[in-house]
């Protein structure tokens, strides 16, 4: 910076700086208005006390979504390095129903508990929780996972490369991979990608036609109720109060569109169910996107700080000039 700055130059500079601040503030306001866009998410209430574990929902899901299931091409291309890119092939085990697979997007998890000396068995339909702010969608590097306007999430099998980041960032490890299918076969199958990830899409195609998801339609016990999240939450709280029960999904990962109501505490259910790959837990989950989003808020302040520093420097030099 040279030291020949007049008062007029400083005034002009100040106007420029003020313009920058105004522009930054407008951007911040626009960003805020976008994030505040209100939509009515569609949620499902699952009354665990009603589920008899008949698996009608599981078979209905398989049947309704069969056209979307993977049709892998064999032999699979050799992938490198083979130790870190394991082949995931469920095409020969399509009838597996006791866990999540690329061919089974919903399964019944069993919990055997002793409550007040009485042995009880509870059956819990498990599938994607459909988070209100789904990390699988938000952190997918290619936009292969998407969130519909109704808040429900799905993975586009035409775009997914099978990197499984969605599974890694999912608090319940829900998406399941099938090797030998999808876009990666047309790109660099040896070096990038490993198939397609699959999970419950909440029968988005049926919902688009005004129909009900297959699992809800098939349930003989009316375990599930679907509707706007606010209404579903009210219903869940009322039900929990009536049965002196507990709610899961209201706050998990910042809130999900799947709300479970159970007659026993979820920490007891969590300790009782079998968990592992394809068998999600029932423990508390903090909002996984919260830390990143808190840092993101600093983006509104950082440019202002930069502008202030530059103006401060300019003011300092101009004052020094005036004193000379």
């Amino acid at each position: 910076m040279t030291n020949k700055i007049s008062r007029r130059a400083f005034l002009k500079g100040s106007i420029t700086a003020a313009g920058s601040v105004a522009a930054t503030t407008s951007i911040a306001r626009a960003a805020k208005s976008i994030t505040k866009k209100e939509t009515q998410p569609l949620a499902t209430l699952i009354d665990i006390s009603k589920c008899v574990g008949c698996e009608e929902c599981v078979y209905a899901c398989q049947e309704a979504n069969a056209p979307k299931h993977p049709k892998p091409e064999k032999p699979f291309p050799k992938m490198y390095p083979s130790a870190t890119v394991p082949v995931a092939d469920w095409s020969g085990k399509q009838d597996v129903t006791d866990r999540l697979t690329p061919y089974n997007w919903l399964f019944i998890q069993h919990a055997n508990l002793t409550i007040n000396g009485e042995e009880i068995e509870l059956n819990i339909p498990r599938r994607c929780m459909h988070c209100s702010n789904p990390p699988c969608v938000k952190l997918c590097p290619w936009g292969s996972a998407k969130q519909e306007d109704n808040g429900l999430s799905r993975i586009d099998s035409d775009l997914c490369l099978g990197g499984a980041k969605c599974k890694t960032v999912c608090p319940w490890d829900i998406p399941q991979r099938q090797t030998g299918t999808g876009l990666y076969l047309d790109l660099l199958p040896a070096l990038a990608g490993n198939g397609v990830m699959y999970k419950c899409d909440r029968c988005y195609d049926k919902l688009e036609k005004g129909e009900t998801p297959a699992c809800i339609e098939a349930c003989p016990e009316e375990v599930q109720t679907i509707g706007p999240r606010d209404g579903i939450l009210k219903q869940a709280r009322k039900l929990a109060k009536e049965m002196n029960g507990y709610i899961y999904g209201e706050h998990e990962n910042g809130g999900t569109l799947t709300i479970y109501v159970s007659p026993v505490p979820f920490d007891q259910l969590a300790a009782s169910v079998e968990t592992g790959d394809g068998k999600p837990h029932l423990t508390e989950v903090k909002d996984m996107m919260a830390d990143g989003n808190n840092i993101a808020k600093a983006m509104l302040v950082a440019p202002l700080a930069g502008v202030a520093a530059a103006v401060g420097k300019f003011y300092k030099y101009s004052k020094e000039d005036d004193n000379e």
């Binding site: 870190t84 969130q147 440019p303």
Partner: protein, 139 residues
């Protein structure tokens, strides 16, 4: 180059290094190719960690960019020049900040952008990054 400008230059290159590394870490490649297994680089295989680091350096970069922009316009009254490569880099950095900021907005709860817009942001952010790396390497 005075000390303040030297410090800014170091800060810019440190920011550029970490923001690029953490940006590429958003793709599931570092674990696959054992890079995350190297001592000190384990965080490259942790998506949430690399995501936060990327955000922190994005905040620093946007502050630096605002500083440089205002400083340039204030200093321009004293005939400060900018080269063509400088204009190109400034344009690319602006593109990175704009697409990155929109992606940050996208990551809040709600569905402000269509999936087509999200894919466009993902791809254009990567293209801008490659452009900046190319121009920096050509210096």
């Amino acid at each position: 180059m005075n000390n303040a400008n030297k410090t800014l230059r170091y800060l810019y290159f440190i920011t550029l290094f970490f923001i690029t590394l953490s940006g590429f870490a958003q793709m599931p490649i570092f674990s696959r190719y054992y890079i995350a297994s190297l001592p000190g680089l384990g965080w490259l295989g942790e998506f949430y960690v690399s995501h936060r680091i990327h955000y922190i350096f994005a905040v620093i970069l946007s502050g630096l960019a605002a500083y440089m922009l205002v400083d340039f316009f204030l200093g321009k009254m004293n005939s400060r020049k900018i080269t063509r490569a400088g204009v190109a880099k400034a344009g690319i950095i602006a593109g990175l900040i704009i697409t990155g900021s929109l992606m940050m907005v996208k990551n809040f709860t709600g569905t402000p952008f269509s999936n087509g817009v999200i894919i466009f942001l993902d791809v254009s952010h990567l293209v801008f990054c490659m452009g900046l790396l190319f121009l920096t390497a050509m210096e």
